[in-house]
């Protein structure tokens, strides 16, 4: 049986929101623990920049302090990219998908969300943040594990995986982009091996992506901006590297189309292939020389394009009017799928 287009979209976005939530929890956690600038202060504003949320943030708060940034990203129901909002969005999708996903997937998300709603602002103060972030990260990983162990492998599985890896690739490029520019104000000025302060900052980047130990295994000595960026972009064994993610997207999309003889999706396929080819053809030194930010921005736009093309091919979404984009791409979000209608019981 073919998958209902709306279900495919809900599955795709459920996976994306869960992946995004896990990444945000990681970033908040590591920020609190490791990310201190030369004066020993934590630069909380960098998180707002990371997600290109400056406008939304300053509509609600006047200053980026530990307190405001944490509230904004953990509990704030009006911030669509807060953890609470993302888990709510994931749960709403799961609620729609209950006939399709396993009972265990639904129950875990339902219980997780209900626990999240019980959190009070005092529970997520800077002091309690690490504990809360660890808990959220674990719940997201539990979701991933339950999904792996119980989700029936039909078309839905492929859309889930594509959503997860597109989001993961996007998160890695964002993390790398903002950290690189926070740490390397103008390329070429810094010491090639990095000051001790820089090294600790690069450790933070790697820890945010759970990549520190893996990096050390590849580069036992030293740490330069180029090796860290190269590792996060291109490493073939690191589960959060962009290349690793795009290979996964490529594999799942190919198998989805062939196994179910789906006629659509060739545009998305071409874009994925093109992205993968581009990623594999440029050494990191050349990328840095020509501008890492521009490169990462291009990768993000390709991921957005892939999402759009997947939507048009499989979710029944009409092509949108062409939009002129110049600012950093904000995080994408779901367009249809979720029911907007409210009715009384018939």
């Amino acid at each position: 049986m073919n998958l209902l287009a709306r279900y495919a979209e809900c599955i795709f976005w459920m996976a994306r929101y869960m992946e995004r939530a896990e990444n945000l929890a990681r970033i908040l956690d590591v920020q609190e623990t490791f990310a201190r600038d030369s004066k020993g202060d934590i630069n909380w504003f960098s998180i707002v920049q990371l997600y290109a949320d400056e406008t939304a943030f300053f509509e609600r708060y006047s200053q980026a302090t530990a307190e405001t940034v944490i509230q904004f990203y953990v509990l704030d129901p009006q911030n669509a990219s807060s953890l609470t909002s993302m888990i709510r969005a994931a749960r709403e999708n799961a609620r729609i998908l209950r006939p399709w996903i396993s009972t265990e997937m639904w129950t875990q998300l339902n219980v997780f969300y209900n626990k999240l709603l019980e959190l009070k602002p005092k529970d997520v103060s800077a002091r309690g943040l690490a504990r809360i972030c660890a808990w959220i990260k674990e719940e997201c990983q539990t979701h991933t594990g339950i999904t792996e162990g119980t989700f029936y492998r039909d078309q839905g599985w492929y859309f889930y995986q594509m959503g997860k890896y597109i989001e993961r690739a996007d998160q890695t490029t964002r993390l790398l982009d903002i950290k690189y520019h926070t740490l390397v104000p103008s390329v070429g000025e810094t010491h090639p091996d990095g000051s001790p302060q820089d090294v600790s900052q690069w450790c933070t980047v790697l820890r945010s992506a759970a990549g520190y130990h893996a990096f050390r295994r590849v580069y036992p000595r030293g740490m330069t901006p180029a090796t860290v960026a190269g590792f996060m972009l291109y490493n073939e064994g690191f589960p959060r590297s962009v290349v690793m993610c795009v290979r996964q997207i490529d594999g799942f999309l190919t198998r989805l189309r062939s196994r179910y003889s789906l006629r659509r999706g060739s545009e998305a396929m071409e874009t994925v292939d093109e992205l993968l080819g581009a990623l594999l053809s440029r050494p990191i030194e050349a990328v840095i020389r020509e501008g890492l930010h521009e490169y990462l921005d291009w990768v993000q736009r390709q991921l957005i394009l892939i999402t759009t093309e997947i939507g048009q091919a499989f979710f029944g979404l009409e092509p949108p009017a062409p939009a002129v984009e110049s600012a950093p791409a904000p995080s994408q979000s779901q367009t249809q799928g979720q029911s907007q209608t409210q009715t009384a019981s018939p």
Binding site: M1, N2, L3, L4, A5, R6, Y7, A8, E92, R95, I96, R98, P99, T103, W106, T107, N110, V111, N114, Q155, F159, Y260, S261, L262, R263, R264, F314, F315, G316, Q338, S339, T341, Q342, T343, A344, S345, P346
Partner: protein, 487 residues
């Protein structure tokens, strides 16, 4: 209460003048529940309470909930579940099953008749204006033939038991009756928390409801579908208060749960939008009222329906369960005539009698109702969910006067019935076990023939003394056990 055995609580239990579902009544002791009573009495009250708390948490975690809308937002609520079961003997059930089958058969004959020759109207058994002038009568259905002449594929019959132990029909539900998911889920809950109580009792299973429903959907699918029709469940969406039930049934049947926007009609055929484009749909269990089904044929403002689906239906390219236009058969005014219909179509007496009902559109009945307002239950004919009901003996003077004014303004909108002393069942309350009123909604599925799910939904009025069991009015539910015939 620590250490109190249920037996202590049950020994001081007093069901008063009401018929008791666990104990029966002096002269009519419930012999079939003896073993269950004995086992129940052996369980410590704290243990019972713990099990009740476990169930509540589990229902919430599983999201077996319905949405309640407040001014600000929608809240998930569980339907309160009482862990003490309601037990029906094999003999009682044989009687009820036959009665429900008789009723479903009759209403289907009635619907076929009024949408074809209208003999029952011509023979003066039912006032024509009551049928033809009914808001739920669909002129579009006149002359249309549908598979097996079955209109009501899914029926819920609300039964109550009076103080003499007689079951009576309180209401028919022939449009989109809900509650069957709770029947199956309640049983799952009981199996998890009360294996000791259920062991060896011989309880008839309820978990094949989805299978029977899918079978019926296949039986009514158009021949053009071939041997492998595509079924679907059409839901108003995730914000509908019965959404859990829609999920449950779609999952049990293994069919997609679709919303109106997932379906399109092309060349009078219905398709769903899939990842590989349009895919045909042949048989639809729709949980959407007639009004919302097709903005082109019915309410043009409906955003939930599928434009053109009625034309596809009329041409026999898609089956709908229930059929369009069944609302005229479960109307509270038409209800009064069902015993006469049974006589007319089947030449039988009703196996399960109605509650004595007066139709206020008839002058004598109106006069009687106005004269005995403080003794009667007055119900508007068009409302569901227990809304708009005045229970005479419990109403204040002002409420009675309000009711009188409404009756005089629009008598045809009301019926009246004596207060039925609903039977009671032992129910867990804060500090013990007390009698609470219950009703019973058996569910029947009809494709080419009628099958009745053993038991049904027992709803319980959790508030002391109240007779209204509807979930929207604070009611809960119990597991309903039909015992196997071991004779």
């Amino acid at each position: 209460m620590t250490g109190t055995k249920a037996v202590d609580l049950l020994s001081s239990y007093d069901s008063g003048v009401y018929f008791d579902e666990l104990f029966g009544k002096p002269g009519m002791e419930a012999a079939h529940t003896a073993l269950i009573r004995e086992r129940l009495a052996a369980i410590d009250f704290d243990d019972l309470r713990r099990r009740a708390a476990d169930v509540e948490r589990e229902l919430y975690n599983l999201g077996i909930t319905f949405l309640v809308y407040s001014e600000k937002d929608a809240v998930d609520r569980i339907l309160p579940f009482d862990i003490i079961p309601r037990v029906i003997s094999a003999q009682e059930w044989a009687h009820l099953e036959a009665g429900v089958q008789q009723r479903v058969t009759t209403l289907n004959l009635f619907l076929h008749d009024i949408y074809h020759d209208q003999k029952i109207l011509k023979d003066g058994i039912i006032p024509p204006e009551l049928v033809l002038g009914n808001a739920n009568f669909r002129p579009q259905m006149v002359g249309l033939d549908i598979p097996h002449n079955t209109y009501i594929h899914i029926m819920g019959v609300d039964l109550v038991r009076d103080r003499y132990g007689t079951f009576r029909v309180l209401e028919d539900n022939g449009r989109v009756p809900s509650g069957v998911s709770y029947v199956v889920e309640n049983r799952h809950m009981m199996q998890r928390i009360f294996p000791d109580l259920m062991q060896g009792i011989g309880i008839r299973p309820v978990d094949n409801y989805g299978h029977k429903l899918l079978e019926a959907l296949y039986e009514i699918a158009p021949a053009s579908a071939g041997g492998d029709p595509q079924g679907a469940l059409l839901s108003p969406g995730a914000y509908n208060s019965a959404y859990f039930e829609h999920i449950f049934l779609a999952r049990e049947m293994g069919v997609p749960l679709v919303e109106g926007r997932d379906l399109v009609v092309e060349n009078d055929r219905v398709y769903m939008k899939t990842t590989d484009g349009l895919s045909p749909v042949h048989s639809i269990y729709r949980r959407l009222g007639d009004d919302f089904l097709d903005p082109k044929a019915f309410n043009p403002d409906s955003l939930l329906g599928v434009p053109g689906i009625f034309d596809a239906y009329r041409k026999g390219n898609v089956a709908l369960a229930n059929a369009i236009g069944t609302g005229v058969a479960d109307d509270k005014a038409v209800y009064c005539y069902v015993p006469r219909m049974i006589k007319y179509y089947l030449d039988q007496d009703p196996i399960i009698p109605n509650v004595d009902t007066r139709i206020c559109r008839e002058p004598d009945a109106l006069r009687y109702t106005l004269d005995h307002l403080d003794e009667l239950v007055v119900k508007p004919v068009g409302e569901a969910g227990g809304y708009g009901i005045t229970i005479g003996p419990r109403a204040t003077k002002a409420e009675l006067e309000d009711c009188r004014a409404k009756l005089l303004a629009d008598p045809a909108n009301y019926i009246s019935q004596p207060v039925v002393d609903l039977s009671v069942c032992p129910t867990m309350v804060n500090d013990g076990i007390e009698p609470r009123h219950v009703d019973l909604r058996p569910f029947a599925i009809t494709g080419s023939k009628t099958w009745v799910l053993p038991g049904g939904l027992t709803r319980v009025a959790l508030k002391k003394g109240t007779l209204i069991v509807n979930s929207s009015q604070g009611g809960g539910s119990k597991d309903t056990w039909v015992l196997e015939d071991r004779a």
